[in-house]
Subunit: 188 residues, 2 copies
């Protein structure tokens, strides 16, 4: 039975499992408290490496299927060695991936089969901020734009509503647009 | 000569090049305008893949040394297949890596040689927001914490000041704490 369910899951999303999870959290709200973690270690220059391995939530501690590792660096034009994307580029990845996961879940819940979805993401930044050359220029992006191309077995308006519902429920979109308290502590 | 410079660069940061870049931007502010880009493609379910390849800035178009690719997914406990970290986990990577690159640059500019630097990053999130179970709970993190351990040839207070200056000039810290305009468009 479970094989059949998996094989026929629309868009690869296990909707009975998703609704079951939502109902379980409705009955036990403390299951919804998650803590995600990462460790970043300096390598050399602007090159560092992050590992992502464990997180807690749903009342327990969880390990990812593998330890994920990501290098980041500044590009050569910004006096780095380009061993990975710049940290600000990972923000573009995060918003694109978050909206995309939401689109798959929402489309599946609404009975829409997706054919292909692509997001082109770009962010504008004036580096006079981080270089300390202007007090009027902020350090971060002035704007991020996400442009979706989406195909599926629904009329254009319904596909647009799926993207909109994903945006309305996106964790990364909320953090990027509304900001979040970030505490930085140092042990020397 | 350049070999010698590279070999002796404190912390692997080419400070003459960094200061030369800052002075070049001071004289030509339009060099500071950068646009970073990423493309995210849906794979299946909550699994998507982002590629990061090109960006513009310093008056030109640049390609990374290679095309970087990153998978993201939801973990099994959130009805995904764990083909990569969740999008919100990449936010933790971005803030850690951004502060870390700044620490290396600031320490080098101040004549401090670093021995080791590590950041443990964690973020708290109540998933009742994204699951649509509470209007009082936000979709994103309620707080992110970054805990640095830093060693180098400077007294503790000077090492703390280096971290603080990195925070004050961090592009990702600015975006995460102050938020940014995010435009989402759809072509169907």
């Amino acid at each position: 039975m479970s094989t059949t369910t998996t094989r026929t899951a629309r868009n690869g999303v296990d909707i009975p499992n998703l609704f079951g999870t939502i109902n379980a959290v409705r009955e036990q709200p403390e299951m919804a408290k998650f803590r995600f973690r990462a460790t970043n270690r300096w390598v050399v220059g602007t090159h560092s490496r992050t590992t992502i391995e464990q997180f807690s939530g749903a009342g327990g501690e969880h390990s990812h299927a593998q330890t994920f590792a990501y290098d980041s660096d500044h590009p050569a034009v910004l006096v780095g060695t380009d061993q990975g994307p710049a940290p600000v580029e990972f923000l573009l990845h995060a918003i694109g991936a978050c909206l995309m996961a939401g689109i798959a879940n929402v489309a599946s819940a609404r009975g829409v089969t997706l054919t292909s979805v692509e997001a082109r993401i770009e962010g504008d930044i004036d580096l006079r901020g981080i270089l300390g050359l202007s007090r009027e220029v902020r350090n971060g992006y002035s704007q991020i734009r996400v442009a979706f191309s989406i195909d599926g077995d629904a009329p254009p308006e319904k596909l647009r509503e799926i993207v909109e519902q994903s945006r309305a429920r996106s964790a990364v979109y909320d953090v990027l647009t509304n900001g979040v308290d970030v505490q930085v502590d140092v042990a020397v």
